[in-house]
Amino acid sequence: MSDSRDPFTTRRGFLKATAAAGGAAMTAGAAHAAGDPLITEKQPWAQALGDGVDATPYGLPIKFEEDVIRRNVPWLTADPISSINFTPIHALDGTITPQGCAFERHHSGAIELSKSDYRLMINGLVDTPLVFTYADLERFPRENHVYFCECAANTGMEWAGAQLNGAQFTHGMIHNMEYTGVPLRTLLAEAGLDAAGDLSDKWVYVEGADASSNGRSIPMEKALDDVLVAFKANGEALRMEHGYPVRLCVPGWEGNMWVKWLRRIEVMDGPVESREETSKYTDTLEDGTSRKWTWVMDAKSVVTSPSPQSPITHGPGPLVITGLAWSGRGAIERVDVSIDGGKTWQTARLGAQGVKNALSRFYLDIDWDGSEMLLQSRAMDSTGYVQPTKAQLREVRGLNSIYHNNCIQTWWVKENGEAENVEVS
């Protein structure tokens, strides 16, 4: 298979290939009369030489994986500069998202800001306003934490009904990385908070260095709890699109607060009520009033495979159903899966014990009988919260809410293995 494009790695390719082979194309190792030529004949890779160690100083995935990429929805925004793309969660496994395919959301584009040009200011109600260089930040005691970052608008397009046909598009505004950085409370202590007096009603305003000047207000309690000023992700420097050289992590809270290219932290008496915390990222209810400060991301899950972009490519028999679950209020304790649209549920196996504010991977290994399925997953977190249905959410919020849609998702898996995004009664 020397073709650069493996026909089975794209959905379109899958459809063509299965049509040509009568639907059972991928039962690999199928016996040929004279044996499988991939085994019985000498293959070029088994005779000639491969690339040397100097060929790839920094590697990208092999060409056969070239469809495992971020994708965007052009009609969603006026311009790709102030827009969002989606993580290919349908094609990933485990829990860590590689930086190169982790979703991006920019308000004025991703900027190139070098470590040497980087400055971080702390000002406002502090004892001594300070300026740090990048090198200064690396001299503070640092920590490692795995956190998910989910855009508040993830699944927002689905609020009105089943719209986008793929887990990447319905649930891909999320990534999960291991961050290295300095707790925000460490930097605040360095500047001194005696000047702020009673801290219980104080806020910090955090702001980015890009042209959007994206800024959010965070209550002091959260700022002193687990907010991290991060400079590494998955062991390496942050990618440009994730805020190189320094971004904020606000564990469990909506992605817009995870300010990239962090340049300023101001201790304040109250919230700034910036554009992104008033006109956007607020949730309008049925009576026209809107919720604000809806920072926390509630428990949620989705089956990533099978799904519309990851159809079943084999016939009946052993099938791995897998997906992701997460909660901004605690660790994932349990995930249930239904194959009949929510009539009956069975508890899935977690890949590892749930970690607070990080993705969990779940698996349900079944013997598929080849009949249609209405696949759903339902997450439960350590607070006892159970992921609701869309109908339950609409009951409370009405039809005009956009953000924080954490409803149960349904994939209609057909007999030929294809799947479609549907809404069910």
Binding site: D67, E273, T289, D298, W345
Partner: protein
């Protein structure tokens, strides 16, 4: 001692343990920020007016500034172009289906508009507006929302007197009371419902982008269609033979001006329909003729009336699209200057 102070003390104690007994609570890293540095970066404005600089600007000046700096995306009347944000209108729609959220209908604080315009706008040229210019533009946005009169002047002194219609429209996150109790019940495992029906399908809606981007069949088909259209139009132009070859200087001027159009329209070999149709062959061509583009009813009727996009018709349309063709989907406010319109038409003609 508050719990916050304890958290902070805990953090300091953590340093001492980590860095050895010589290190006090602080590591002595960083340097003191200078007043000029703080002034350069600390620009945020709070709802109570904290952070507002001294200054003022009129609706009248704001209209001119808005037209120059903002209208290309937000429309001459702040009504919004395409998917770009609408800044005006939408009053009393928040409890309707698809509410229109604008500065006038939704934003609770005027400080937010001032702060955002001053720090984050115009898109692509942020932090270029002076304080007075910002006051003027914000005054014009208020005027566009019928919140002030046309002789209004906004300043740091009267800033807090402006009443925002939706100031009381927000509540603090109430999920802990309205959602968490009912969503924290033991989940059903068996016989959870009698029947399950599919009520909506994404494939029927079909708005999912194609996996393979610009290389797939649909786009090729669209390109073929466009070629056909171009051929048809070219034939027509030959028949009409009334359009002179464009002046190269005008074409060049038009190419620059076309940036105003390019968020919706494409021209050239690789042109595809965006929120507006491909414009290859539009000069002298038939209206509403690009296949695969859904025209407004008004444009379809205009086409059925046997009209042709000759230079005079295009000139009138580009001057004020909505006045020339009531009901057109083209939300562009129009080009006031005749020479600008002539340049755009010359540029379009170079793609015939």
């Amino acid at each position: 001692m508050s719990k916050y102070r304890k958290i902070l003390m805990g953090a300091a104690a953590g340093f001492a343990l980590a860095a050895g007994p010589a290190a006090a609570e602080k590591l002595g890293l960083g340097r003191t920020a200078l007043p000029d540095e703080i002034a350069a970066w600390d620009l945020d404005v709070s709802p109570d007016g904290t952070g507002l600089p001294v200054g003022s600007g009129s609706v009248e000046d704001g209209e001119t500034l808005f037209s120059e700096a903002c209208a290309v995306c937000h429309g001459e009347f702040a009504e919004g172009v395409d998917n770009w944000p609408k800044l005006a209108g939408g009053d009393d729609t928040l409890d309707h289906e698809d509410p229109l959220k604008t500065v006038g209908s939704y934003w609770p604080y005027l400080s937010t508009a001032w702060d955002y315009v001053h720090r984050s706008m115009p898109f692509g040229n942020a932090q270029s507006l002076s304080a007075d210019e910002t006051y003027a533009i914000v005054a014009y946005i208020l005027y566009s929302n019928y919140l002030v009169d046309d002789d209004f002047v906004l300043s740091n002194e009267n800033f807090l007197e402006v009443e925002m219609p939706n100031a009381d429209g927000f509540i603090i996150d109430d999920r802990p009371e309205t959602e968490y109790p009912q969503f924290s019940q033991a989940p059903c495992m068996e016989n959870c419902k009698d029947s399950v029906e599919i009520t909506m399908r994404a494939m029927v809606l079909d708005v999912t982008p194609d996996e393979e981007g610009g290389e797939d069949g649909a786009v090729e088909e669209a390109a073929a269609v466009i070629e056909e259209v171009v051929e048809e139009v070219t034939e027509e132009v030959v028949e009409v033979a009334a359009v002179a070859a464009p002046d190269p200087a005008m074409v060049e001027a038009g190419e620059k001006l076309f940036k105003k159009c390019a968020s919706c329209h494409m021209v050239g070999d690789k042109a595809k329909n965006k929120s507006g149709p491909v414009l290859n062959g539009i000069v002298g061509g038939a209206p509403g003729a690009v296949e695969g583009f859904r025209y407004s009813k008004a444009m379809s009727e205009f086409a059925e009336g046997g009209n042709v996009w000759d230079a005079a018709a295009l000139d009138a349309f580009l001057a004020k699209p909505k006045a020339f063709l009531k009901g057109t989907k083209m939300s562009f406010a129009g080009l006031k200057k005749e020479e600008d319109r002539a340049a755009i038409i010359a540029y379009l003609q170079s793609h015939n």
